[in-house]
Amino acid sequence: MPELRDLYQEVILEHSKAPRNYKEPAGTNHKAEGYNPLCGDRFTVYLEMDGDAIRDIGFQGAGCAISKASASMMTQSVKGKTKAEAHRIFEQFHELVTGHSHEHEAELGKLAVFSGVSEFPMRVKCATLAWHTLEAALEGQQEKVSTE
C-alpha cells in the first residue's frame, strides 16, 4: 500500500508552503502558462534566457501542494542550466515520477523526493505541470499548455 508520507515528504510540504523563486524576474524574456483542467491548477513560468542558458527563472500561480512544490524545486534545479540540460533533467524527472525508471535518482538530487508520486498515478500531472510549462517557455510556445 502506498504511504502518504512517501508522497507528502517534509521537503515537499515545506516548498509548497514557502515556494522559492515565486516571482516574475525583471529580465523575463520567455514565459508560458500551464493549466490542469482536471483540478484547476494554473502556473506561469518566467524565464530570463541568456542565449541558451537560463539566467533566471520564476513562477507564479495556484495549485495543490505537489504541483507547487514541484514548480518551486524545478526553478532551483534548472537555474543556470542550458536548455538541453533542463530538458535532460525533465526527462529523468518524468521517468522517476511515472515509475518507469529510478536509475537517475542520484543525479536528480533533491528532486528525488518526488519518487513517491509514482505510487499515485493520478498525481503525476500535478508533479509535471510546471515542467511541461517550462518546456513550452523554452520553446517559445505562445499557446497555453494543458495537461489534458
Binding site: L4, G40, C64, I66
Partner: protein, 422 residues
Amino acid sequence: MSAAAAVPIRERAAVQQPFDVEGIRKDFPILHTKVHGHPLVYLDNAATSQKPRTVIDAIVRYYEGENANIHRGVHYLSQIATEEFEKARETVRAFVNAAQASEIIFTRGTTEAINLVAQTYGRAHVGAGDEVLITAMEHHSNIVPWRMLCEEKGAKLRVAPINDAGELLLEEYEKLLGPRTKVVAVAHVSNALGTINPLKRMVAMAHKRGIPVVVDGAQAVPHLAVDVQDLDADFYAFSGHKMYGPTGIGVLYGKHALLDAMPPYQGGGDMISSVTFEKTTYNKLPHKFEAGTPDMAGVAGLKAAIEYMNGIGIAKIAAHEHELLEYATEVVGALPGVRLIGTAREKAGVLSFVLDEVHPHDIGTILDQQGIAVRTGHHCAQPVMERFRIPATVRASFAVYNTRGEVDALVRGLRKVREVFA
C-alpha cells in the same frame, strides 16, 4: 416543491417505520469493497451512485432471457423485449408523474437530453438577437449546449446571478426574463452547491411571459419526489446512473404538444414511419426522438432502479439524506479552517467545502488513502468556482446507503489532512 403530494400514500405510510440503512447497504455489492485496507466510504454520489443487486440482476436477466431488437421483430423474444421496454417507459412516466408515456424519451443521459432540446426546439425557436436564460449555478452540460446554440444563431446567453449562499436571486432572474428570451434552462438542484431552486415559481414566472423552461434534473431525481406536471416544466432531463441505475441511459420528459411540434434530433431507424429516397415520414412520439437501437439493457436497469427507490419510498430516502446532510454540515463545518461553499436554506445531497491552506486535490488523495471517496475539483461547474473565487472544492455527496458513521469517518479523514499539513 410539492414533494408530499407526489408521494403515493402507501409510501408515506412506510415513513413511519425505522430506517434500516444497514439492510439497504446489503443491497449494494460494491459497498463491501476495501480500499487501501479500509472499508470503502463512498461519498461521490453526485458523480454517480452505486447500483443495487436488483439493478445489476435486471441487466443480466435482460441479456440472459429477453435480448432481441425491439419494435420490429415478429418473433417471441422481440415481442418480450418490446413489451419490457415499453413497460419501463410507463414506470418512468409514473416516477415523474408525466401525463402520458409518449412524453418520455430515452436518451444516453441528461447531457444528451439537453442537447436534444437545444438542437431541436432551440434551433427552431432561437434566432439572431434572441436570448437564452440560464443561472450562475449550472453544470457545464446546461451551459455548453446553449452556448453552442447562441453562437450558431447569433443569440445571447444571459445568466441569472446567485448570492453568497449559492441561492438564485429570484428578482434578478425575473428581471432577465425579457421579450427576447426564448428559452430558460435551469438546474433543479445544483451539483456543485446542492442548492434546490424554487423551480415552481421560476417556471410560473417564465410561463407568464410565454417562455418554456428546460430543467436539468440530474441532481434532483435521486433526492426529491419530482412531479413534472405540478412543476409545470416544459422539459425535464435526468440520468439513470445518478439514481442507482446503469450508466448510458437517461430520460427527457417533454410536454406532448412541444415534442410533437419539434423537428427530430437524429435520423435513423425506429424514428421513421416510412422512408423513400424522396421523402421520410417521421414516426410518432416518443419514437421520433429515439433513432437507432436503444440501450434496452439500460432501460431494464433504469426500471429496476426506479422500483428499488419506490420500494424504499422517495420520502424516506429524502428524509434520511437530509438528516445526513444536516449532520455532516454541522460536524464538517465545525472543523477549524473549513469554509462551506453552498449554504442555501434549501439543499439536497451535497456538501461542498474548502480547507484553509490545503488544496482540494491534496485532500482528495489523503482521504482516498483512508478509503474515503469524495470529489475534488470544479465539478464541471467552473463558473460556480469563479463566483466563489476558488479553483476547486471538496464535495461529499450522499445517497440512501450512507451512514452517520461514514460522516464521522470523513471528519477523521479531514483531521488526518490537518496532521499531514501541520
